[in-house]
Symmetry: C2
């Protein structure tokens, strides 16, 4: 999984600092984007970004922007970006989106500056337990103990981050070791390109046998199996066996539209998901985890599939698309005739906007190969329903439930894929957690069109209050789930960050403004009043 | 330290739920403000805020607003507010300001909803290691194991939070226990009012002896010793012995102006602080910790006082003001003649704004008993220099160095002290971390005037780059320390959150707009272009 190299620039007269060795190693390992919100203890690394050229440094005004962007970047690029964060509190501001990245299996390489090692014992104001904060969202945590160690642990961190299925790896970099001048070359073990292990033949055979025997089956696709190959192979299996197809509810990145099979997502609420799986004798997981209820509700089972029906075709780290193809071949499933796209040409809806009309308009107007970062249920579900008829695109969703993921992921995806348009379909409440993302979009002039579903409420919480028997919430519960009083002025917020913004109330206006925004070069925001 | 009570409403027919018992206990313990950003797993608690009346629930759009507001509230009210946060990721968004609260010794009571206990094993998307995240910023962490446990641990958490000198206490509240209906009354141990232990007489005697012997002394005041009594007693000691007075660099809450002694803060950069303490044979700590360098710099000692000179008069938990009074009496230091205020009446500066003119104008126009939340060095240090001539006021500073503290602390302070005007003197970069605070100010119509020092740069990082030999930063370092391209439109951001905002470039305009803003009832924002 690794190969050796040496970090040393022969023509560099004064030798490398630990910070420069970190950046050189990171570049050698293929990491060339850094989402940064640095402070004093990262200044040698900031200087090293100039003295060792090759890394694109992108400033976020808030650390959650950096980590969410690194997650979005990884989902599209398939390789890690670096984040550069300031001690425990700076890292903590990035945890929520690292939680989402963890659930997405995104490779992310976090570098956290710490006090000089000899200064820690004095418990200065910013001293903090970074390991305790980092562990819950990191598959790997390491603290460097020398300048050379910064290079060696950088390589180890990137190896850990990129090992399938991907994880966050956090390197703690004391300031003194960043400044240390290395006296000798450093050998590091760099990662090989990411590869996914193949599924064993007997696993595929056993499932093929049960499908051939006519068991009523559901195929649940997730992770990398939601790419084009995986979906096409799953459709062959479905047509040969009658198996029902679902995608996981919140995929990290799923291909959709352009004639791909219309794969439903497994429903969010457990009663509906249990209903969807109720008749199955066999639930086959391809890259998806066993489906569990998002929250625990009294009297509702946590596990959604009927007991004893679940079989794993491929884990998230395995090559699920290949396993589906081998399974389809084993079943003798023919290649289906290519499905032509079925664009939504029935006349797009006019009049007052609804979540359904937003979903249809956004789907129909999506440019080829767009990336859609979806956060929030209000327009997210209707968009998904409509988007099977859209041009081919990639959908990113909130994998971990920590809100504030959609805008930074859109920014990171735009940086990963120059030339692709990005649409952030975003609920108003969740947009507020990382609103500062708009500024990064403006500074980097990213082609991101942000569509704000403005219903001025935490609507999902109103629904949840109803589930708790509070169908008529009292004044306290109403206040805590309302975003009115005052309503946000979204065009003003956008302008405040240098993003042109406008507000629409009808289908006609949305079509006009979305067309204009998609044609613009840089970021745009449209508030959709619902 | 505690007394018993029983949580039970005899006239409640159906019995209490665990969530209701938590709120009842919290109210009985004197906690009646809740800064909330709840999610699904907190819905029973949200409903309980209505069914058990008496708690003021204040919504934050982002968790860092809630925790920063709870810190500001505690510094002014001297007692804890509750925060209500959603699982690990929601808590994580509040960590940075809980770090500051920890360094301020602020009592804060955090309640974090978690999954139903029986659902945790299934590792649903939002499952997270809350204990690992909470421990670095909590003096006490507990997880309830029943509905009755929610009441009992609430009492224990508030006792822990309010024990001098105060700390954050975090209660993890599984959703099933919030919903559980209690079958019997619950006995809980409630906190007594916070009291500070007195300093032992021999400690005071020993220091008095050294002062009488003529040792060159510095008195460093911090924590609660920076109240009016502590400062006046310290001034007596100084006039009787020639001791030099300093306040700690970043106090949680310090009285100032209105004829109080003009106590300098110990300088921020270590070389200056070492210089300030260099001649001392005795450095007496009253409520302050031993001064250490904020960051470790190569070749500069971490400990700032000369070796062997430090003596503790009072720890942060002890009654430092009383100890200073006893010490002053022991030295026979006379009560000084009351110092009349010396208002800055030399004509306030016109023309282009500078940090110095901002400091003088803000000081001179400060209403009596204002609270000033200061974050950022640009105008913070010049304001402090000028503010000894201001009307009596209370200054809150960023105690822990996690930026994004000033705006939410201002909001929390305003809620703690109705009738007092609050000024948030705030640097532009740090304001962005918790910019959503403006909306809470608008919703609650808090009398907070936010003054944004708009220099469009992370200026402290430019200084730090200079200290690392990068006096001419390269393009990467320039980009990562610049907030231009695009510049924020602060009046637009304010308007986006429902706060009237304006922009000034001269002393005349600042005086006019600040006068108008202080006369207004609700929140106002003024961008000061520097």
């Amino acid at each position: 999984m690794t190969h050796a190299t040496t970090v040393w620039q022969a023509n560099r007269s004064g030798g490398l600092t630990g910070a420069e060795a970190l950046i050189e190693t990171s570049l050698a390992a293929g990491v060339d984007v850094c989402f940064a919100n640095p402070g004093t203890t990262e200044m040698p690394l900031v200087a090293a970004l100039d003295s060792v050229p090759g890394t694109r440094a992108v400033l976020g005004l808030f650390e959650g922007v950096c980590t969410g962007a690194a997650d979005g970047y990884a989902r599209i690029a398939g390789r890690p970006a670096m984040t550069l964060l300031h001690l425990g509190p700076g890292f903590a501001n990035g945890i929520a989106n690292l939680h989402n990245a963890r659930r997405a299996h995104s490779p992310v390489f976090n570098v956290v500056g710490d006090h000089a090692s000899w200064h820690l014992v004095h418990d200065a104001p910013l001293t903090s337990d970074i390991v305790s904060l980092a562990s819950p969202v990191s598959g790997w945590v390491g603290t460097a103990a020398s300048g050379a160690g910064l290079a060696q642990l950088t390589a180890r961190a990137v190896v850990a981050a990129t090992a399938a299925p991907g994880c966050g790896a956090t390197l703690i970099a004391p300031a003194d070791f960043q400044q240390e001048v290395l006296e000798a070359p450093v050998d590091v073990e760099l990662p090989h390109p990411r590869s996914r292990p193949e599924v064993a033949a007997d696993v595929i055979d056993a499932i093929a046998k049960r499908l051939r025997a006519g068991e009523r089956a559901v195929l649940l696709l997730g992770g990398a199996a939601l790419d084009e190959r995986g979906q096409r192979a799953a459709a062959r299996i479905a047509s040969a066996t009658g198996a029902v197809l679902y995608g996981e509810t919140f995929p990290a990145a799923a291909e959709r539209g352009g004639g791909l099979p219309d794969l439903d997502r497994l429903p969010y609420f457990p009663e509906k998901a249990i209903e969807a799986l109720a008749g199955a004798q066999l639930v086959v997981l391809a890259g998806a985890l066993e489906p569990v209820s998002y929250f625990g509700y009294e009297g509702v089972p946590s596990l959604l599939a009927p007991s004893g029906t679940v079989e794993v075709l491929s884990t998230p780290e395995e090559d699920g698309a290949l396993a589906l193809e081998v399974l389809a071949d084993a079943l003798g499933a023919p290649e289906p005739a290519p499905q032509p796209p079925r664009p939504d040409d029935e006349g797009l809806p006019d009049g007052a906007l609804t979540p359904q009309s937003v979903g249809r308009i956004a789907s129909a107007m999506l440019p080829e190969h767009a990336i859609v970062s979806v956060e929030g249920g209000t327009c997210g579900y209707p968009f998904f329903t409509a988007s099977s008829r859209a041009a081919r695109h990639t959908t990113l969703t909130n994998t971990g439930g920590a809100i504030g993921q959609g805008l930074p992921a859109a920014a990171g995806a735009a940086i990963a894929a120059p030339g692709r348009k990005v649409v952030a379909l975003q609920s108003d409440g969740s947009a507020q957690y990382t609103i500062q993302s708009l500024w990064t979009m403006a500074r980097e002039q990213l082609p991101v069109v942000t569509l704000i579903a403005s219903n001025r409420a935490y609507n999902v919480l109103r629904t949840e209050l109803g589930r708790h028997g509070q169908s008529r919430p009292g004044p306290g519960a109403t206040a805590l789930t309302s975003l009115d009083g005052p309503a946000f002025d979204w065009p003003a917020l956008a302008r405040g960050y240098g993003v042109p913004g406008t507000r629409v109330e009808t289908g006609e206006a949305l079509r006009r403004e979305l067309g204009r925004a998609l044609a613009a070069g840089g970021p745009q925001l449209i508030e959709m009043a619902l």
